[in-house]
């Protein structure tokens, strides 16, 4: 009971923080409006998907160091395919590819019994290599409508990019979360032995969770391709950022606890902080320091609050 309250308090706290930051942005730059919001949402796209994927595998008790590389594979594949075929089949192929890459990660973890972090560290290099083999240097082209779809806003006051994040995450995650498979994912992350004894097919659950992660990475790769209009084979800075957002978002490393909403809010917080620092013309080196401090500081505050809560 108290756990549920604690968990939701964390998400609510993050939400409040995001709100405060938005107000702060408006105060600093009175002209900040819909277009600013849109650009924040667009910038958040790849981070949000990387984070969602990472969150799923962290919940199942693992970690996936290859998210950025998988995104690169998906981005170059998308860019290469879209040069040759229509957007929709290309998107479907890329989503399938992401899912399969994730399944491979998970399958290797389960089959070899090598710890997640080692397997995905190795796969980080493998997928990076695959991306380079597909496209040696940046190139390809993304379908025009896809590039347009992430701009502007169809629903008033909701940037398309935000709607896309919400829709994609909700479409994959909510049905999953409500299903028995979703419960199995939490169970496996919480206590693998007890889950096994409760009849959970632990191996299969892990593989599927990694598959879902791969699928989110495919969304991430597609969003990179639609942002830039091309495919870049070199992985971007999404690995560490996603780990940080997952932890900031209240998912416990080690598994079993947390959801996707918190981490995604955390992504937005980190993006808006960068916007604020740019608006304030803060020295970029100091920006690095501030970002590090915020990351550590928020988690510190959070742990301190939870510890105090637990003591009472």
């Amino acid at each position: 009971m108290s756990d549920i309250i604690k968990k939701n308090a964390w998400v609510a706290g993050l939400m409040a923080l995001l709100f405060v930051l938005l107000i702060l942005t408006k105060a600093i730059q009175p002209s900040f409006g819909m277009s600013g919001l849109e650009s924040v949402a667009r910038a958040a796209l790849p981070f949000a998907f990387a984070t969602a994927g990472m969150a799923v595998v962290v919940i199942v008790g693992g970690i996936d160091l290859s998210v950025a590389s998988m995104m690169a594979v998906c981005a170059v594949t998308a860019a290469v395919l879209m040069e040759r075929m229509a957007g929709v089949p290309a998107i479907l192929i890329v989503l399938g590819l992401g899912f399969v890459m994730g399944l491979i990660n998970g399958g290797l973890i389960v089959l070899t019994r090598v710890p997640d972090i080692v397997v995905t560290l190795a796969m980080l290099f493998v997928w990076e290599g695959v991306a380079l083999l597909i496209l040696e240097s940046p190139g390809g082209a993304t379908t025009e409508w896809l590039k347009q779809s992430i701009r502007g806003s169809v629903i008033p006051f909701v940037p398309n990019a935000l709607a896309i994040i919400a829709a994609c995450v909700a479409l994959v995650w909510i049905p999953l979360r409500r299903s028995k498979l979703g419960i199995s994912i939490y169970a496996t992350g919480s206590d693998e032995l007890a889950a096994f004894r409760s009849g959970v097919a632990v191996g299969r659950t892990k593989i599927v969770a990694y598959g879902v992660c791969g699928m989110f990475c495919a969304f991430g790769g597609l969003s990179l391709a639609s942002l830039t209009g091309i495919g870049e084979p070199v992985p971007g800075p999404y690995l560490m950022a996603s780990v940080a957002a997952v932890v900031l978002g209240g998912v416990v490393l080690g598994g079993g606890r947390g959801g996707l909403l918190g981490p995604i809010i955390a992504v937005f917080i980190l993006r808006i902080v960068r916007t604020i620092l740019t608006l304030l013309a803060v020295d970029p080196n100091v920006t690095t320091i501030i970002e590090g401090t915020i990351m550590v500081g928020v988690v510190m505050l959070g742990t301190a609050a939870t510890l105090r809560g637990a003591r009472k």
Partner: protein, 494 residues
Amino acid sequence: MNANQILDASGIAKSFGAVKALVDASLSVSEGEIVALMGANGAGKSTFVKIITGALTPDSGKVLIRGKQARVGSPAEARRSGLVPVYQEPSLIPDLDVADNLRLTDTPVAPFERWVKELGIEGLSLSDMVGDLPLATLRILDLARALASEPDVLLLDEMTAALPSDLVERVLKVTRQQADKGMGVIYVSHRFNEISELCDRATVLRDGQTVGDLVIEPGVEDRAVELMLGQRLDLAAREVNTTRGTIGDTPRVRVKGVAIAPKVTDISFDMYPGEVLGVVALEGQGQDELFECLAGFMPPTAGSIEVNGTTTAFRHPADAIAAGVKFVPGDRADALLAQRSVRENIALPFSARMSSWGWLKMRHERERVEHAIDRLQIDTRAQGEVQRLSGGNQQKVTIGRWLATGVETLLLFDPTRGIDVRTKRQIYPLVRELAEQGSSVLFYTSELEEIPLACDRAVVIFNGRVVDIIDAENADEQTLLRAAYGLTAQEGAA
């Protein structure tokens, strides 16, 4: 052989590396039959249960279900075949609420709730996070979940070990009822009184081998013990060491008006050097909090604790240890370094203080550790990792740690949980011996019959308050139980 036979396992063998947990084990159960599975710590009972229910695969042997050869590959398959276990360690998922735990095993909710009520757990909500529930409740939930799936055979592995007496009674009653309705039960326990009350038959394991099958009748206990241990042990000699501690002038520990929000409201007692002080309480009367408070895990919200005449305020178990107060918790998972060796587990307190971060004193350490292992007869075949020891042997390691360092004040929270008869017989004298050497021992046990065997006096706690203090001579089970239920509540005791 028997038309009603549900399960027949025979010739089961299982090795873990060099450790042969099971060599040739067999067991059968028929409809309506309750079969006890007996054996000393490490005999292979839990391993056997796990194999039957698909949590482990045997190296050899066969399992017949209703006369047909069956391959039970996983716990899920076992469940579908009607074999449902309650394992020695809780198997609920801590980060899921009760409802999700039920969904995970496809357990119907309505019968589950009925069973929970029947087993005497009040005020449970399906949205409670399992990790927040106390151990005893978890055991009951495990059982209720098993019962709700209407098994053909129910396997209970030391189901009652962590339960206080009131809940034990309920469990026994419910089990009997279900057996009468045709369910087969395999019942693992170290408690003879439960077995003789409940079971029809007993299968005895020794060193991984089935060494006998007994019909439960009066006087069968001696025979069972002989089979279990391969030697005679006089069960009638219940008296342990009769030298009782002397109650001197300065108490070793004086607990004065201690309250710990929200459960404990007012606890006071004195504990003297050379005394073993029993604690008697039903489930959840505040005994857990009392022990944790004395051990330095949490400060009292009111009242004071004096050790050797000085008032103390422990902020960390290290403070308590420095004051000579040492704690063996009830849940051994809390106390053990699962992946480390027996030796490191026992020697852990030696390195705790900053001043001992340098060179290890290997010789000194080995001597102390070996002494503790000897004294508790820890089965060290799988000593490389404590998690590979049997449940009872793990329990012994938690006690051994403090034997090795020496104790002034020892807080034992249900130390004989899951320990076999012979070792229990060794633990009581051990506790008495410690007392004779001048230590004080606070001894909570869920088995009331242990109180007169080991203690000088017993504090009875009910609803967070001390309701009575009873001398050992008068502490027969009846009296204690009545007191524990708050029936003899004398106002102003202590």
